[in-house]
């Protein structure tokens, strides 16, 4: 099936796959931080700008990612990841 699809369609499928995966990450974060969240999270939501965000949440997020994706983010990686999308990309890169 794949070889009859054009390059554009293939990248659309990859894009859909990416969205589905990032949605899963968002769901995990929303459940873990239900005490913080005032509205829905989006890929471009800046994690540290969520009201009430603290260093404790950073630890909880590292534990969550380690538990669900078996990827242990360093403090430096988390510091450089500004948005949910950035975090997702670090996880994807480490999983590749």
């Amino acid at each position: 099936m794949w070889d009859i699809l054009g390059q554009e369609q293939l990248s659309n499928i990859k894009f859909v796959h990416l969205i589905m995966d990032i949605q899963e990450l968002i769901n995990h974060i929303e459940i873990e931080f239900d005490d913080l969240q005032k509205g829905p999270l989006y890929p471009d939501t800046s994690i540290r700008e969520i009201e009430g965000w603290s260093s404790m949440h950073a630890l909880l997020l590292i534990a969550l990612i380690d538990n669900h994706y078996d990827v242990l983010l360093t403090g430096e990686e988390l510091k450089n990841a500004l948005t949910v999308q950035d975090i997702y990309e670090v996880i994807s890169k480490r999983k590749a």
Binding site: D35, M56, A58, L59, L60, A63, N67, G75
Partner: protein, 350 residues
């Protein structure tokens, strides 16, 4: 590679002693209500024991050891070794173990020395004491604990509400029929800054570098005479190394995780222990906890957990336990052993 087995050593009894003063996390005035709830959820600490100004770790260990020796009617002449594991000794010198040898009425031909380790110290202490007893000595006392609250700054939210004070005494003896204990010990000095008290010893003596408190980030204000903790680094270290090294220890002992009755982990932070447990895919009741009532009690956390959370089980039957200590150094250590039925007790220091 520091993996080794030592047989013919029996753990005869474990006693712990904690200060009677209880401080609740909710009493820490620098926490908002929300911070308090989040801290309790993440670390598991609801309450801890704090020693008064005049009470030292050696006092807590002394009381634990004195009660143990009295209750079990141990002939003090038979104690050939005393090891004190702590990072809060009574003096810069002499070694606190020697002071305790005299206070406990032990013989002058008893060898006594200190080991300067924190969270991994109980397992390290067991390995050293067992090795010595295996070489032909009769009985030995392992006294382990810390008065960590002396080194934290009230103005540092990352350390002040974490630590509790505790001491412990474990009696070991040479015993021809005891099965082997399997040890697996590690060190990584590249992580020395993750948990450190910078000033007060030879590198930066206290009297010449006495230091004012300064703010490192919001909520973290301390001097360099205080304990500094890089929570993220310690957390990453624990998640990376602890489950992996427990697996290695089990492999070395040719044992399956399912054959272990309880995994008694150092009580640094509930989130760390939960993460280790999830990595190992084991049930919550396999990981007894004492951090909720006592905080992080450094090298006393493993014996204190056994004396409180495992009291009913360990007093009535033999258990297969995996003990795991990890932290300052960085240093981490595991031992797989059989223990029980033995007397255990947790005493309040009045």
């Amino acid at each position: 590679m520091a993996k080794f087995a030592i047989d013919k050593i029996k753990i005869e009894a474990i006693y712990s002693c904690v200060p009677s003063q209880k401080i609740k996390t909710s009493e820490y005035s620098l926490f908002s209500n929300y911070e308090c709830l989040l801290f309790e959820k993440t670390t598991g600490i609801k309450e801890r024991r704090v020693a008064s100004k005049d009470l030292t770790c050696s006092d807590l260990c002394f009381k634990a050891a004195e009660s143990l020796l009295t209750d079990l009617k141990i002939d003090r002449e038979e104690i050939d070794v005393l090891i004190f594991v702590s990072q809060s000794p009574d003096y810069f010198l002499p070694a606190t173990a020697i002071i305790l040898q005299e206070k406990l009425g032990l013989a002058k031909n008893c060898m006594a020395f200190d080991i300067n380790l924190g969270c991994s110290g109980y397992v390290y202490g067991l390995s050293v004491l067992s090795s010595l007893l295996k070489s032909g000595l009769k009985k030995g006392l392992l006294l382990a604990g810390d008065k960590s609250t002396i080194s934290t700054s009230f103005n540092d939210k990352s350390t002040y509400p974490l630590f509790g004070d505790a001491g412990s005494a474990t009696l070991l003896s040479f015993d021809k029929i005891s099965e082997p204990m399997f040890f697996d010990l590690h060190s990584d000095g590249s992580g020395k800054d993750a948990i450190i008290i910078e000033y007060g010893h030879s590198r930066f003596p206290y009297n010449t570098f006495n230091d004012e408190e300064r703010e490192y980030e919001p909520g973290i204000k301390r001097s360099r005479n205080h304990l500094a903790l890089d929570g993220m680094k310690v957390f990453n270290f624990a998640l990376k190394e602890v489950a992996k090294s427990i697996d290695e220890c089990l492999q070395f002992a040719k044992n399956e995780k399912e054959s272990v009755d309880f995994f008694v982990l150092h009580q640094a932070n509930k989130l760390i222990n939960d993460s280790v447990r999830k990595k190992m895919k084991l049930a919550e009741d396999k990981f007894p906890m004492s951090i909720d009532n006592f905080g992080n009690t450094s090298s006393a956390s493993i014996p204190l957990t056994i004396c409180t959370s495992l009291k009913n089980q360990i007093e009535n039957k033999e258990l297969t336990l995996l003990l795991s200590g990890f932290g300052v150094g960085l240093s981490w250590a595991n031992v797989l052993l059989k223990m029980g039925p033995i007397p255990v007790k947790c005493i309040d220091y009045d």
